[in-house]
């Protein structure tokens, strides 16, 4: 089996680019992330996104945060009536993506997190880092979800109302301890 391709993106690549480039809006000022996601290690929020050429209601912004490590989060823009996978996303942590593209050196194919994901003209998902993510200091600052959502909004041309950005509150229905279990092997007695 080869790598996953989305023919609908390849065949409608200008429409796909338009999804990314046109200004999109959300109307939720405070994004509260409380609901268990399908992956039980995460909590998530789902908010409606308005796009000028999309008429149905199915474009959404999903924010997912790992319950035991709030520095591990993902932003996803989904438009399921066009493509089942998120059409644009950001991963703060997690696995290293391989951009398997001919003409690209093997070493340059590995894109560690944090990174963005989008699709190329062949409908293949590729990961990339922005200049901010390549700069160690700026990348460190973007571990703060509330700064990172602004970067994500700039990169995806999304805004709250006119020209603003939302605030994110994680597990606002709990005591609100900030969970930061960055070491996956911590507290496990490997027998």
């Amino acid at each position: 089996m080869g790598q996953k391709r989305f023919p609908q993106i390849k065949e409608n690549y200008s429409f796909y680019n338009n999804l990314l480039s046109e200004r999109k809006f959300i109307f939720t000022e405070v994004i509260e992330i409380n609901n268990k996601a399908n992956n039980h290690s995460f909590v998530e929020s789902v908010d409606k996104v308005n796009h000028p050429v999309v008429n149905d209601d199915s474009m959404v912004l999903c924010v997912e945060v790992k319950i035991n490590n709030h520095a591990y989060f993902q932003f996803k823009l989904r438009y399921k009536s066009f493509v089942p996978a998120p059409f644009f996303r950001f991963d703060s942590d997690g696995e290293t993506h391989r951009n398997k593209v001919e003409g690209l050196g093997l070493q340059d194919q590995a894109i560690t997190t944090p990174h963005f994901h989008k699709f190329n003209e062949n409908g293949i998902e590729i990961a990339y880092k922005t200049d901010k993510l390549l700069d160690p200091k700026e990348s460190k600052a973007l571990e703060d979800i509330n700064l990172c959502i602004i970067h994500f909004f700039h990169e995806s041309n999304t805004r709250l109302k006119e020209d603003d950005f939302p605030e994110i509150k994680i597990q606002s229905d709990t005591l609100g301890f900030k969970m930061t279990k960055e070491d996956p092997n911590q507290n496990i007695d490997f027998l």
């Binding site: 089996m1 080869g2 790598q3 996953k4 992956n39 039980h40 290690s41 319950i67 035991n68 997690g94 696995e95 290293t96 993506h97 391989r98 951009n99 398997k100 050196g105 093997l106 070493q107 590995a110 560690t112 998902e125 960055e182 070491d183 996956p184 092997n185 911590q186 507290n187 496990i188 007695d189 490997f190 027998l191």
Partner: protein
């Protein structure tokens, strides 16, 4: 460029893929081995007492590689094959996530253990991309779960109905399509029985049978008020003549109430 120079390039490119990330006391090692869904495998190295532990960080089981670890027999055979061949150990953490790992007290063995764990992860992630289950069967099951869930939700008290629920949440072994708390101390267990063919339908009956028997052997036995099997009479695999003895067994050996989907209204009096 001569061939030997090309080989040097290959070695350098391959070697250059190794990267690390410090995570507390653990070092994440990003290896040059990639999966069929284009993820590089990471392993996590920690010193624990006098041992070195190399784990998958719980990533396989928690979906970081964006594949779900299957439950189908075909898949499990493959999983166990790789697990046995590479002698991979496993342990479940406090949150219920399975970790796959190897450990050694001998530093000289670390690269070899790391190599084995990496190949294990690479294979399991890649194999997880294969759809083993029959598509028609998967669709039949999903459709019935969805309509039966909606129906139960339409007339029951939301607070009392738990869908796709473990009988004993701490134990996480026996799971029912629905558990309904008739009263704070009595439960109704509900199994959906369906299948796209006679083979799958009779398997589904057998599964219901086994789950009800296991529930009767569990510590929750005294709380069980009724055991309900909802029979998908609209499924292609529902051929009453061929299933009669299976259904008879289910009804008489486990005391399950059989409710045909064509008479689903009966559920309203059973579950209230």
């Amino acid at each position: 460029m001569n061939l030997l120079e090309i080989f040097t390039d290959i070695k350098n490119a391959f070697g250059g893929l190794w990267q690390t990330k410090q995570r507390g006391n653990t070092l994440e090692i990003i290896t040059p081995y990639a999966t069929t869904n284009n993820r590089f495998v990471s392993v996590f190295l920690t010193k624990q007492g006098s041992d070195y532990v190399i784990s998958d960080g719980g990533w396989l089981n928690s979906g970081v590689y964006e594949v779900a670890i299957g439950k189908e027999t075909c898949f499990l055979k493959i999983l166990y094959h790789f697990q046995n061949s590479f002698e991979i150990k496993q342990i479940v953490n406090a949150e219920g996530i399975t970790y796959y790992y190897l450990k050694t007290a001998n530093a000289i063995d670390i690269p070899s253990k790391l190599f084995d764990l990496t190949l294990f992860i690479q294979n399991i992630v890649s194999v997880s991309e294969i759809a083993f289950e029959d598509k028609e069967e998967k669709d039949t099951k999903e459709r019935f779960v969805s309509i039966a869930n909606e129906y139960l939700k339409s007339f029951t008290d939301k607070e009392k109905l738990k869908l796709n629920q473990f009988l004993i949440p701490e134990k996480k072994d026996i799971k029912f399509n629905a558990i309904y708390n008739n009263t704070p101390s009595t439960l109704s267990l509900v199994n959906y029985v369906t299948g796209s063919s006679n083979f799958y339908f009779s398997n589904s009956i057998s599964k219901a049978n086994m789950l009800f028997q296991m529930a009767d052997d569990s510590s929750a036995k005294t709380f069980i008020k009724s055991k309900v099997s909802i029979i998908d009479t609209s499924a292609d695999g529902y051929v009453p003549d061929k299933l009669a003895s299976y259904l008879y067994h289910l009804e008489h050996r486990t005391g399950s109430l059989l409710v045909n989907w064509s008479e689903k209204e009966k559920l309203q009096s059973i579950l209230n």
